[in-house]
């Protein structure tokens, strides 16, 4: 026994077990409790009067929830693709040894530093047709210029995409930049010898070799999509109508201001399942790679 203990001093097992316990208790304890709550009809305070899966059925009948989920998929796809593209392009340019690299890098990164409550307001003003860009352009003489997406139920979600890409592209840029800088120099020499056009080199040679880098980006961005809340509240608060509602906002609203703990819990559980579903391709490739 003493020897076993002594040997464990040299192994990570104790540490792994300790952290596992913390994560199990806090995260999975919470998931378990949330699941329990989703089976009750708790309103504001937790109550333990179980009604089975009634709340899940309610959720499926709730138009706002359905819209939220659809929005999340649309938003998520555009946001992830947009952030990856813009972030990659910026990374490519910065990687070319441009002047003022530090200045540009800082500009592209700072959105991460400022509270979303306020940057959301800044964006809302910019996009407000009577106050922001549209008004400014019209004042300059283009009377017919229109940029009023934020006021249109069908397009408001794109404004969220714009602001979210604005916030996350810098992070993608940094991560991709890091990937680019670890590309083997000989590969570039070979590309130049073969006279492959630069854009094709990136699209067909360099980026495919950086798959794990992009996978990391996608996972990080996905967790933003699933948990995205602050920016929506600050920019559109779900509107116009319910056209920019998202599941996380749905859950938070129903936890507190709507006093529907059970429904919010059901929503949280479904969000988790949804995120597992979104993660599945990544996990699949990850597990397969290891085997």
């Amino acid at each position: 026994m003493a020897r076993w203990f002594q040997r464990q001093m040299f192994r990570p097992t104790f540490t792994v077990v300790a952290f596992f316990a913390v994560i199990a208790i806090f995260f999975y304890g919470s998931i378990g409790w949330t699941f329990l709550m989703s089976l009750t009809k708790s309103s504001l305070m937790p109550r333990y009067d179980f009604v089975g899966f009634e709340k899940y059925a309610d959720l499926m009948d709730n138009k706002r929830w359905i819209v939220s989920c659809i929005n999340m998929v649309v938003f998520g796809a555009l946001f992830i693709v947009g952030s990856l593209i813009l972030g990659s392009i910026l990374a490519i340019f910065i990687d070319r040894g441009i002047r003022f690299e530090g200045v540009f890098r800082t500009i592209f990164l700072y959105p991460l530093a400022i509270s979303l409550i306020v940057t959301g307001l800044g964006w809302r003003w910019l996009l407000d047709p009577t106050l922001g860009i549209q008004a400014m352009v019209r004042d300059m003489g283009w009377e017919n210029f229109a940029f009023d997406w934020i006021t249109e139920p069908d397009r408001a979600i794109y404004t969220l995409v714009i602001a979210s890409v604005w916030r996350s592209a810098g992070l993608v840029m940094i991560i991709v930049l890091a990937g680019l800088r670890s590309v083997d120099g000989d590969l570039w020499k070979a590309i130049r010898m073969e006279k492959i056009p630069q854009w094709r080199a990136y699209v067909q040679v360099i980026f495919p070799g950086m798959r794990p880098v992009f996978a990391s980006c996608i996972v990080l961005l996905m967790s933003e999509v699933i948990r995205g809340y602050d920016l929506i509240v600050a920019m559109t608060n779900g509107g116009p109508g319910i056209s920019t509602e998202m599941p996380a906002k749905f859950a938070v609203d129903f936890f507190f201001s709507r006093m529907n703990l059970s429904l919010a819990s059901a929503a949280s559980i479904l969000m988790l399942l949804l995120s597992l579903l979104m993660l599945a391709p990544y996990l699949y490739s990850e597990f397969r790679r290891r085997d």
Partner: protein, 356 residues
């Protein structure tokens, strides 16, 4: 006492067996090289000896003490890694003394030992540098120094020279051997490079697929390989192989050609009729006029190597190599006879490759 004995070491990962019951007896002060290609299990075996990996069954004795369940640091051994594994954040001095620091050796003693080893390896001037400020060769020395500083008596090496360029490798090889002679440590050295094995080892263990194929002094490994694997693994160019049927009258039949093997010393003196392979090193073949030798072959091409030359000939579609003087190689005809020195040749069973 620092002899090492490995008893029936077995290791599996899932369905994959890495080591099949490996046995080895290493006497004190011996320099043993474990030779094998990647994936043969040699590094796993070394890690098991070091205590960095566990075995599923078996027993490791160091100096007659059972260390199978002991931590590496309790096994009285030290190790040099392939990538050197110097602690990047520490100076050379601290790299050397860290182990003693952990073991709470008094400071004065630590310094004395570090100084001694540094002098031995001529790295005194580097003591206050960080590993990133050292060249590859210097790092190598520091890594060896770290292993020596605790002066245990058993030293393990995991391909320590593979990251050096050819010139440095040759130099370090010589130094290591000298160090071994001076210190008299027991050394267990893993490599895939047969030159290192041949030049440094007292004994070489050739490993293949988790088994020790042969454990013998290097010259014996080269001259009397225990099986076809060892024969073809050791030596460059690869040993020439001629497949045929061993008939009861002691000749190897290749179609209509019969090679008389009476000059060959069979193991146990017996030679049952069976399919067999005659293996001959390139330097044990003499060029003779066509039809005058054991076989006749077509010249394919000639490689001039400076000191000598290799002639590549085709025999029944197979390429054989013959070593000879440069002048002789230049004068070769397109058809040549080959005469084998059968006293130095080997004959293996085609079925399982064992030496006949």
């Amino acid at each position: 006492m620092y002899n090492i004995s490995l008893n029936k070491i077995r290791k599996t990962y899932g369905d994959l067996t890495i080591l099949h019951s490996v046995e080895m007896e290493i006497t004190e002060g011996e320099f043993v090289v474990i030779l094998g290609s990647s994936g043969c299990g040699k590094s796993t075996l070394l890690n098991i000896v070091a205590g960095l990996d566990t075995c599923d069954s078996g027993q490791i004795l160091i100096g007659d003490k059972d260390v199978t369940d002991l931590e590496p640091s309790d096994r009285d051994l030290s190790m040099v890694f392939q990538s050197y594994a110097l602690f990047p954040s520490m100076t050379v001095r601290r790299n050397l003394s860290f182990g003693m620091e952990v073991a709470r050796v008094p400071k004065a003693e630590r310094e004395a030992k570090v100084a001694k080893v540094a002098q031995l390896l001529q790295i005194d001037a580097l003591l206050d540098r960080k590993p990133s400020q050292l060249s590859g060769g210097q790092r190598q020395r520091v890594a060896i120094g770290r292993a020596l500083v605790r002066s245990t008596g058993v030293c393990l090496f995991d391909e320590p020279l593979s990251n050096l360029d050819a010139k440095l490798r040759t130099e370090t090889r010589v130094e290591l051997k000298k160090l071994h002679n001076d210190l008299g440590f027991t050394m267990l050295y893993v490599t895939h490079d047969q030159v290192e094995a041949m030049t440094m080892a007292d004994r070489v263990a050739v490993m293949n697929k988790g088994r020790v194929e042969q454990f013998a002094p290097p010259q014996e490994i080269y001259e009397k390989p225990a099986n076809l694997f060892v024969a073809s693994f050791v030596g460059s160019p690869e040993i020439n192989q001629i497949a045929g049927h061993l008939s009861g009258n002691g000749s190897l039949d290749i179609g209509k050609t019969h090679i008389d093997l009476s000059g060959y010393a069979f193991e146990n003196g017996t030679r049952p009729a069976q399919d067999a392979i005659l293996a001959v090193r390139c330097e044990d073949i003499k060029i003779v006029p066509p039809a005058a030798g054991h076989i006749t072959a077509q010249l394919d091409f000639v490689e001039l190597l400076g000191a000598d030359a290799l002639a590549w000939v085709l025999y029944h579609g197979k390429r054989l190599s013959v070593r000879m003087g440069v002048d002789q190689a230049r004068a070769l005809e397109s058809e040549v006879g080959l005469q084998f020195d059968l006293t130095k040749a080997s004959v293996f069973c085609t079925k399982d490759g064992h030496r006949l």
